[in-house]
């Protein structure tokens, strides 16, 4: 029953923000977490995905000002009043981290997941800059970078990844990507029938980095969750002409602006003097 293409379907519409995924992930993978930090970003004190946090539950409070009654879906809330989302490495088909890794430490596994080989990683951190989702973090102790392995060791033993196993509401579903796509389509249809018109799948198709093995059902636009929207979720190498032209134009503007700035600084220093 081993999966061919492993993935997560994270259905945020039933996420209750319990963070069981965060803890189960740390327990299984032996992560200590960062030193406790009072962020008070709603109920979030984890802050980000990094070397010590491979699942991260994000909270977005979007309450209307007058919220004595919130009907969902309805104009006041729309099922979007208090969004919760368990974020994770997306295991992109077009994985930026793999593209920039100079040592080929980052590979695609037999389960079609993106995996960092700890014994090959040289700690250059190119991948940290390249990842559009800020997933990867550097561990000072190991001198290497870390992220979600989609529980590679559990997959090898036919076990469900720890986060999906612990999720009480099945917001995190694990399985073969093709099967997950079917589940996601049915869930989206059910929500749309109930009037959740903004509900959408993110990364289910190839518009987002060629498709995400760990894809999401969102209750609002990707930007609301700090995710790049479809227009931006592409690798420069796959969309190079506008990218290069844009880059060139930016460079020209930057050089001119720089020149102007230097001249102005000179002027103001003269004036001051």
């Amino acid at each position: 029953m081993a999966v061919k293409r492993a993935g997560f379907f994270t259905d945020t519409s039933v996420c209750i923000g319990c963070k069981a995924c965060e803890v189960a992930c740390k327990e299984w993978n032996g992560l200590q977490g960062n030193s406790p930090n009072l962020l008070l970003d709603s109920f979030d004190n984890t802050g980000q995905l990094d070397a010590e946090n491979w699942r991260h539950v994000k909270f977005y409070e979007r309450m209307p000002d007058q919220a004595n009654l919130v009907e969902q879906p309805a104009s006041t809330g729309g099922g979007q009043a208090f969004l919760m989302m368990s974020d994770v490495c997306k295991h992109c088909q077009h994985a930026s981290c793999m593209e920039v890794c100079p040592t080929n430490a980052i590979v695609r596994t037999e389960f079609d997941t993106v995996y960092i080989q700890q014994d090959v990683c040289n700690g250059c951190r190119n991948c940290i800059s390249a990842c559009p989702y800020n997933v990867i973090g550097f561990n000072q102790a190991t001198g290497t970078v870390h992220k979600c392995t989609l529980c590679y060791d559990r997959l090898q033993n036919d076990l469900t990844p720890a986060c999906a196993k612990a999720c009480p509401t099945e917001s995190i579903k694990f399985g073969d990507v093709d099967t997950l796509h079917q589940l996601a389509d049915a869930r989206l249809a059910a929500l749309q029938k109930q009037g959740y018109s903004k509900a959408q799948l993110y990364g289910r198709d190839d518009k987002v980095y060629g498709g995400l093995n760990a894809f999401f059902l969102l209750m609002d636009e990707p930007e609301v969750y700090n995710l790049p929207n479809r227009a931006n979720a592409v690798l420069p190498s796959r969309n190079n002409l506008p990218g290069y032209l844009g880059g060139l134009a930016t460079a020209v503007v930057a050089v001119i602006a720089g020149l102007i700035a230097f001249r102005r600084r000179g002027e103001s220093e003269e004036t001051k003097a």
């Binding site: 039933v14 209750i16 709603s42 004595n68 009654l69 919130v70 919760m84």
Partner: protein, 820 residues
């Protein structure tokens, strides 16, 4: 719960009040999610249910509810009262059910009244009711001893329970509901329209609550108001219905069943009272009495059987017919001995020592500073716990002077539940056996081994040194292989009970006898451990639904075991009509198949014909004296109908009756002890506070778990954005929250999930106070300066509900200021 977790998927509508299951019961919350998921699946299949969450705070539960209503804390009796009035005025009740399955037709005797917030029989000096007028008009007895009530099946008699109920709740208009609860009339009516549909026989609604209803001086009545609504809608006893308490810990249901509360014996029998000289006195004064010839009154009828079987389990051969089965070995408490009462007695200097097992008095409060004073007056304190607690360390609490505290503290390390096997009884009454995960660490011993050791030493002392009344101590049975180390298996067998004649395990409590030939450590658990083995270990579950859930209703009868008799839904005779057909054929509880009741384990004699075929058939609610659900009840000491009273500390006078604003019988410990009451007025303490737990922590114990401390690292309070703006409080600022009793100094989480509301014409704000922190644990040790005032219960009042003496943790007044 009358029903059980899995059964939530059978509901059309779920009202959540005084509960936050997504945060406090995240695993159980899967059933709420399943109830909602796919509307095309239809009723009973898990799909299309609507959830209405009424709460002062928009929580993680509200996020997944279909409708969120901001309600002022402690006003749920007015909300349910408004819904009761709405379904009565608009004739949306389940009329057949109300007529035949409730006590609506019982006639209340002359002398009962309710006026200006007071029921008849009030004694102002004693602050108690004489409840003799809360009774039925009895018919002239046909046989001596009969106490049958007069009934009017037309429900038209002005003294009928139905008419009195209607009059009582007529005051709960939508306008009144708005004034009390803060829920705007239009919003209330939207929800009322949804609820009004649920009186139809093919619809069913579940009401789910937790300690958000319990932790009030009106707690008992808040829950009663929900029960009355459910009876009127015909939703009690049915799959997808019921009144469902989510219990706080994995095994708090088991604790309650086994008499963790002082006022009951195991299995919800009353504790004997002074003056009851014989077993018969006790039974006569404690057992329910039949008030209708068709009432079986199973509990009342068997009260003596259950009591004698319990005494036989406890005292063995020392319990004989000649000594009234050792009835006088059981203590008859002369004073209230509930939990606040214990600390009150300590405070008065009346106690020498205290054993705390699995609870930390200081954190739990109420009024932690007063509890600390109480502990400091003890000669000795024994704390049995897996970790250091604010009680074992009370002497070094910030502000205490250790040099002046003479209390000798013994810390006895005990096993945590992962270090032992045994049973957990969940909210749905399922006793599920679990395994030991890891062996006991260090010197940890099971709590009950410590107690067994203590008991053994005390018994030896009685033997060598004598004592006033050694008989019960000497006679106590300890039929374990090692009396110092009883195994969980031995205890479970003993709780089930056995037939002393055959030596076999009892199969049912119906066979328990009063002649001393049977035992039962807890009659409601009889059948949990039978000759066929430990039924709590059964595991025929979701791996094969077709075989293991033959009705498709989610009963899974061979998964673990539920009390009583493996019944999954209490009062399930009421799930079918008089002829024995389910009210909703799609969602049967039990039904009459011509020869017997099938479906769930019937809450009824298995082969008793429906009343349409046998006029002498028992009424559906077999446990109480009426045989029907009680809209009017004399088993509460604060009123036969639920009434809204303000919390002891309230921002407004009661809009229903300002002259009797709070509960007239709430127990005010300080006043009763001759100490000054310390209650805040809204002028000094203008904000309503409510305390609660977060999903990231489990009460106080997880302050020792690094990964969970990482999730919620420090104490904080939730402050409404609008109020924070007025007060110049920004997210993360430190604030001082003060009540008339103490202070809390913590960080502020500024949020729009809390907001203003208008009650009694006045704008009020709630401050939300998570409870998990104190001066012990990882975060406190790391930040000792910040952690000086982290005990949430330093703020809460030292008062109790009249019925249960439960403290008012959920509604009190505070002020809040930014710490500059």
């Amino acid at each position: 719960m009358t029903n059980h977790w899995r059964d939530l998927k059978n509901a059309d509508l779920i009202l959540i009040n005084g509960a936050n299951p997504a945060e406090a019961h995240p695993v159980g919350f899967q059933w709420f999610v399943k109830a909602k998921l796919d509307p095309s699946r239809g009723p009973g299949q898990g799909g299309g249910a609507k959830i209405v969450h009424a709460d002062p705070r928009f929580t993680r539960t509200s996020a997944l509810a279909d409708t969120y209503l901001r309600i002022r804390t402690g006003t749920d009796a007015a909300y349910f009262g408004g819904l009761i009035n709405y379904v009565l005025q608009n004739n949306l009740i389940h009329a057949d059910y109300v007529r035949d399955y409730t006590n609506a037709s019982w006639i209340v005797k002359q002398g009962y009244s309710f006026q200006d917030g007071l029921f008849s029989g009030y004694d102002k000096t004693k602050r108690t009711y004489d409840i003799s007028t809360w009774a039925y008009e009895t018919l002239p007895p046909a046989n001596p001893g009969d106490t049958f009530a007069r009934r009017d099946p037309t429900l038209q008699d002005p003294s009928s329970v139905f008419q009195l109920l209607k009059a009582h709740y007529a005051r709960y208009t939508p306008e009144m509901v708005e004034s009390i609860t803060g829920i705007p009339k239009a919003d209330f009516l939207k929800v009322a329209a949804l609820v009004g549909e649920m009186g139809k026989p093919d619809k069913v609604m579940s009401i789910v609550y937790a300690v958000g209803l319990t932790h009030h001086t009106t707690g008992g009545q808040l829950i009663r108001s929900a029960a009355i609504l459910q009876l009127l809608l015909g939703n009690v006893g049915r799959p997808g219905g019921g009144v469902n308490a989510e219990r706080g810990h994995a095994n708090i249901q088991g604790n309650t069943d086994h008499a963790i509360s002082w006022e009951i014996l195991p299995g919800y029998m009353k504790i004997p009272a002074p003056g009851q000289r014989t077993l018969d006195d006790f039974v006569a004064q404690s057992a329910p009495k039949k008030s209708d010839p068709n009432s079986w009154n199973f509990f009342g009828t068997n009260y003596k059987n259950f009591t004698v079987s319990l005494l036989k389990a406890w005292f063995g051969t020392a319990a004989t017919a000649d000594n009234d089965f050792a009835f006088n070995f059981i203590p008859k408490p002369a004073v209230n001995s509930s939990w606040i009462s214990i600390f009150d007695q300590a405070l008065k200097g009346n106690m020498e020592g205290l054993l705390l097992s699995g609870m930390t008095a200081t954190s739990i409060g109420p009024d932690s500073n007063q509890v600390l004073q109480g502990l400091a007056k003890l000669k000795w304190l024994v704390v049995m716990d897996a970790f250091a607690t604010t009680s074992s360390e009370f002497w070094r609490a910030p502000g205490q002077k250790p040099a002046e505290i003479q209390t000798e503290v013994f810390m006895l390390p005990t096993t945590h539940w992962i270090e032992k096997e045994g049973s957990f009884v969940n909210s749905g009454r399922w006793a599920q056996w679990k395994d030991q995960v890891i062996p006991p660490q260090g010197n940890a011993r099971h709590d009950h081994w410590i107690l067994a050791d203590l008991f053994d030493r005390v018994r030896k002392l009685y033997g060598s040194a004598g004592g006033k009344f050694p008989d019960p101590i000497k006679a106590m049975t300890l039929q374990y292989a090692d009396p110092l180390k009883p195994t969980f298996d031995e205890l479970a067998r003993e709780i089930n009970g056995k037939d002393l004649t055959t030596g076999k395990q009892m199969a049912s409590f119906a066979a328990l006898k009063a002649d001393g030939t049977t035992t039962a450590g807890n009659w409601i658990y009889t059948s949990s451990y039978t000759e066929s083995g430990n039924n709590m270990k059964r595991r025929q579950g979701v791996d094969n639904p077709a075989a293991n859930d033959p009705t498709g209703m989610g009963f899974y009868p061979n998964w673990a075991w539920s009390w009583p008799l493996n019944r999954r839904i209490l009062y399930n005779r009421a799930s079918a009509d008089l002829a024995g057909n389910p009210w909703d054929p799609k969602r049967p509880g039990i039904k009459w198949d011509g020869t017997k009741w099938v479906g769930d384990v019937p809450d009824y004699p298995p082969t008793m014909k429906p009343v349409t075929q046998d006029p002498t058939a028992w009424l559906p609610f077999i446990m109480n004296g009426e045989g029907t659900g009680r809209l009017f009840s004399n088993s509460m000491v604060d009123g036969p109908f639920a009434e809204h009273y303000e919390p002891i500390e309230s921002p407004i006078p009661n809009p229903l009756h300002a002259s009797q604003s709070e509960s007239p019988v709430a127990f005010l410990y300080d006043q009763a002890a001759g100490r000054p009451n310390r209650f805040g007025k809204p002028e000094q303490y203008p904000y309503v506070a409510t305390s609660y737990r977060l999903t990231e922590h489990e009460h106080y114990i997880t302050q020792h778990v690094p990964l969970l401390v990482g999730l919620q690292p420090q104490a904080f309070v939730e402050v409404p954005k609008e109020l924070a703006d007025q007060k110049g409080i920004k997210n993360g600022d430190r604030v001082r929250v003060s009540s008339a009793r103490g202070i809390l100094e913590v960080a502020a989480l500024v949020t729009k999930r809390l907001g203003p509301m208008t009650v009694g014409g006045k704008k009020v704000y709630h401050i939300g106070i998570p409870i998990h922190w104190g001066f012990v644990g990882i975060a406190a040790e790391r930040n000792p300066e910040l952690a000086k005032h982290w005990l949430a219960n330093a703020l809460t009042p030292f008062v109790g509900d009249a019925n249960s003496r439960t403290p008012e943790f959920k509604a009190f007044l505070v002020d809040i200021k930014k710490i500059e």
